[in-house]
Amino acid sequence: MSLEILLAEDNPDHAELSCFALQKVFDGCRIIHVSHGEAVLSFLEERAQGEGLPDLLVLDIKMPRMNGYEVLRALKASTDLASLPIIMVTTSSDEGDYRACLRLGASGYLVKPIKAGSLRDCLQALPPPVRAAARERTR
């Protein structure tokens, strides 16, 4: 059974690049792409009612409608969705942002473009099924 990852990214280029890295680490994973914060919440809520949540959420911070922080807070506040592992993604690294994300319950914090290496670096904070799905470093 392949890993299901929800990618929230408004920039299509960035989304494609993130897909490269995600597919590199999680071989054969299924990536569902949404392009704004509200879509994240509606998708997840719908899933929570039916077929179940994805395995991982990769969440861009700077997004229209609802930004990453707002989505993060909403998810962690929801009983159904709080357990979903989330990796926050940002264009420009900032220690303050990083700390804030971890404090709010994010499992990882990555600077774009996401590289396979940096993605693997934050695997440890992810739940075992996700970790298990990660392909060993090829090189």
Partner: protein, 758 residues
């Protein structure tokens, strides 16, 4: 006299205002004796004139007084004449009564005459009369028989005398009182004496009472001899015609008469009178051409002389007078003069009083003139002094008005006493108007009430200070404008109580400037904020495409790794390196804007730990460069934002690695010291070093000394400087090119006791 400078007059010595030339008004005026002016002519002229006037006045007074006294004397004389006249008239009436008695009585005998006489009470009513008698004509033929008839009455010795043959005789038949003195005259023939005869003839011829010239009465003895005279009233035969002299001579029977002793008469007459006058009575003869020779001495010898014991001529009397008195056909001349008694009674000191008063007045005037001159002299001095004072006041005034600050002198009761020009201009009142006003009137309505209490408070604790507690103060101008002001208060002790010097600074301009400045600051802050937002947005938005470039470049490089030639790979590498560089630059810009923008927790930090954190962040670079970082064992604690200070050290260490000398392994020493109330942490390297020319420049943003170097954004030291600025500290550079650089972070020493300040 009052000095008006600041109204500080009569100040007690303790609070006396220092003057260049101390002036004691009291001393100046009163210590100078008026005698100091005695050399001047004016007082002496005044004295002479007043003495002259006094003398004249006393002379005039004397004359007037003398004139009054003369009148009084004349009255006395008139009174005397009146007295004599009326008395003699009274005697004449008595004689007429006697004639009437004789005419009425059929047989007037001696006893009846005596009774009649007694009934008159002459001696009691009219003292001074010697006797009251009747003498009758006796012809030579009947002389013997007459004498015999009298002797028959019991007067055995009676005879008419003096003896001798004469054409006609008269005999004194009755004479009351019939005492021893009068008895001497009993039977005396008065007609035998020329003086008497003359009077008797006149009386007979004219038919009325007549007085004789001075005689010595036959009653006189050797003792107390007085001049006398007689008064005769003719007694005619009853029923006879008496119209002519001849008829009267034919009808004459005798005379009712009275002898008078002059002194007795006068004594009786003057009894009860005050002896204000002394007088002599001279007989000047009858109105007829009777020769004076009858009694030659009569003209020279006084019939009567008052105060015989003290001769009237012995002293010079004040007044003398003479009166002629027509009496019984004779003229008596009265020579009257004032007596000592009169003079004593009318002694008048008026002129003396006038003179004395005038003299005193003159002396007083003299002294007053002296005093006036002295006072005028003093006055001149005072005037000169006042002129100096006025000059001083003028200068003081100019000074006051030259002060660019409004100035009011306010009394303890809140009244304005003085104001300078600036205050007048500011408040829109004249100084005169301000001097009528209470200081509260210069405040906006809403502050007046509390100001009264505030004023009391100041008086209770008077010391120089600014008014208000940082609150806005306003003065109310005449036009009702509320003018923002700054007010200073200074107490000024004076003898009249405390004055409060109030300085008023118009801060309208300042206020406006402050407002403009504030607005400018607001705009600046806004611009800054916008700028930071802009920087943030720009760097972030620039990063997004860069991420794409970087991502796809990496992807391409990965995919084409086997296809590309080395040359092509190098070109790819250049793209990736520049993307990385730009990433770093944008990252630093963001970082810088965040440092300025954001504040984190401030707390005490161990600098050793900070350096270690920085080293941990740089572990890769340190390892790669083979650099050795030595940190001193004892590192101080500073107060600040941990992340920023880690960033500081991180940037400095990174810099030291970045600018290492070729061929020399980087050695970085971190040490600390305390100097000049600063905690200093030095980061020293053995790198390229920096030319002193560039020491300022390197802390500016985007300044890089080696543009060729691949690494570094040129923002690193700017970030260090910004962080140190934010911590109230500074960063210094000490470097020798080719030997190395030492960057020193200087922190203000935290206060003792470790209390933290945000």
């Amino acid at each position: 006299m009052q000095t008006r400078v600041m109204r500080i007059d009569k100040t007690p010595p303790t609070s006396r205002q220092p003057e260049t030339e101390p002036f004691d008004l009291h001393r100046e005026v009163f210590s100078r004796r008026w005698l100091s002016q005695v050399w001047r002519p004016a007082p002496w002229v005044v004295l002479a004139v007043s003495l002259a006037i006094t003398t004249f006045a006393s002379f005039v007074t004397e004359s007037e007084v003398t004139e009054k006294q003369r009148l009084r004397f004349e009255k006395q004389v008139d009174h005397l004449v009146q007295l004599i006249n009326s008395r003699l008239k009274a005697y004449r009436s008595l004689l007429q009564a006697g004639v009437g008695f004789l005419n009425a009585s059929e047989s007037a005998d001696r006893a009846e005459w005596g009774r009649f006489h007694r009934s008159l009470h002459i001696e009691a009513l009219y003292p001074g009369i010697q006797g009251y008698g009747y003498a009758e004509f006796v012809s030579p033929e009947s002389k013997e028989a007459y004498e015999a008839s009298i002797r028959a009455e019991g007067f055995d010795d009676f005879r008419i005398y003096p003896p001798g043959e004469r054409e006609i005789y008269t005999a004194i038949r009755y004479l009351e009182p019939f005492d021893w003195r009068n008895q001497r005259a009993f039977g005396y023939d008065m007609y035998s004496d020329a003086v008497r005869r003359e009077a008797m003839a006149r009386a007979r011829d004219e038919g009325r009472a007549m007085i004789s010239g001075p005689v010595t009465l036959v009653q006189e003895t050797q003792v107390d001899t007085q001049t006398g005279f007689l008064m005769y009233l003719p007694h005619y035969r009853t029923g006879a015609f008496l119209d002519t002299v001849a008829q009267r001579r034919e009808a004459i029977l005798g005379y009712v008469y009275s002898p008078f002793r002059m002194e007795d008469l006068m004594r009786g007459m003057l009894a009860g009178e005050r002896n204000f006058v002394a007088f002599q009575v001279f007989d000047s003869g009858s109105g007829s051409a009777e020769p004076q020779t009858l009694n030659p001495s009569a003209a020279e010898t006084a019939m009567y002389r008052s105060s015989s014991d003290s001769p009237v001529t012995s002293r010079e009397p004040w007044f003398k007078g003479q009166r002629a008195l027509e009496i019984g056909g004779r003229t008596w001349t009265l020579e009257v003069q004032s007596t000592e008694a009169f003079e004593a009674a009318s002694e008048n000191y008026m002129s003396l009083v006038v003179f004395a008063a005038g003299l005193i007045d003159g002396l007083l005037l003299f002294m007053m003139t002296l005093a006036f001159l002295a006072a005028r002299e003093d006055n001149r001095q005072v005037t000169r002094h006042l002129a100096r004072k006025t000059e001083a006041e003028r200068r003081y005034r100019v000074l006051l008005d030259a002060i660019p600050t409004g100035l009011l002198a306010v009394r303890a009761d809140g009244r304005v006493q003085q104001a300078n020009r600036q205050a007048c201009q500011l408040l829109g009142y004249s100084e005169g108007e301000l001097a009528q006003m209470g200081v509260e009137e210069l405040l906006p309505e809403e502050y007046r009430h509390q100001h009264v209490a505030f004023r009391q408070g100041f008086l209770a604790d008077p010391r120089q200070r600014l008014m208000g507690r940082g609150g806005d103060l306003y003065a109310l101008s005449r036009g009702g404008e509320k003018i923002p002001v700054e007010i200073g208060l200074s107490p000024l002790q004076t003898a009249r109580g405390m004055l409060v010097l109030v300085t008023i600074v118009d801060i309208r301009e300042r206020r406006q400037t402050q407002q403009e400045l504030h607005q400018l600051m607001q705009r600046l802050r806004q611009k800054n904020s916008e700028m930071e937002q802009f920087v943030y947005t720009v760097s972030h938005d620039l990063k997004a495409p860069l991420v794409t470039i970087e991502g796809f470049a990496d992807k391409l490089a990965e995919k084409l790794n086997d296809v590309l030639t080395d040359q092509q790979k190098h070109w790819f590498g250049r793209i990736q390196a520049n993307v990385k560089s730009m990433n770093g630059l944008l990252g630093d810009l963001l970082e810088l804007s965040r440092i300025i923008h954001r504040d984190a927790e401030v707390r005490p930090l161990d600098t050793g730990q900070l350096v270690k954190a920085a080293m941990a962040n740089l572990a890769g670079a340190i390892h790669k460069s083979g650099a050795r970082v030595v940190v001193a064992k004892e590192m101080p604690t500073v107060v600040g934002q941990e992340r920023l200070l880690v960033q500081c050290f991180q940037n400095l260490i990174a810099n030291a690695i970045k600018y290492q000398r070729p061929g020399v392994k980087p050695r970085i020493e971190v040490s600390a010291s305390r100097q000049e109330a600063e905690v200093r942490v030095a980061v020293a390297d053995n790198g390229l070093g920096i030319d002193p020319r560039h020491h300022e420049r390197i802390f500016q943003i985007f300044e890089r000394l080696d543009p060729e170097g691949a690494e570094g954004s040129g923002v690193g030291l700017a970030i260090v400087k910004t962080i140190m600025d934010k911590h109230g500290g500074r960063v210094c550079l000490d470097s020798v090119p080719g030997e190395g650089s030492t960057f020193t972070l200087c922190f203000a020493e935290p206060p003792l006791g470790g209390e933290l300040e945000p």
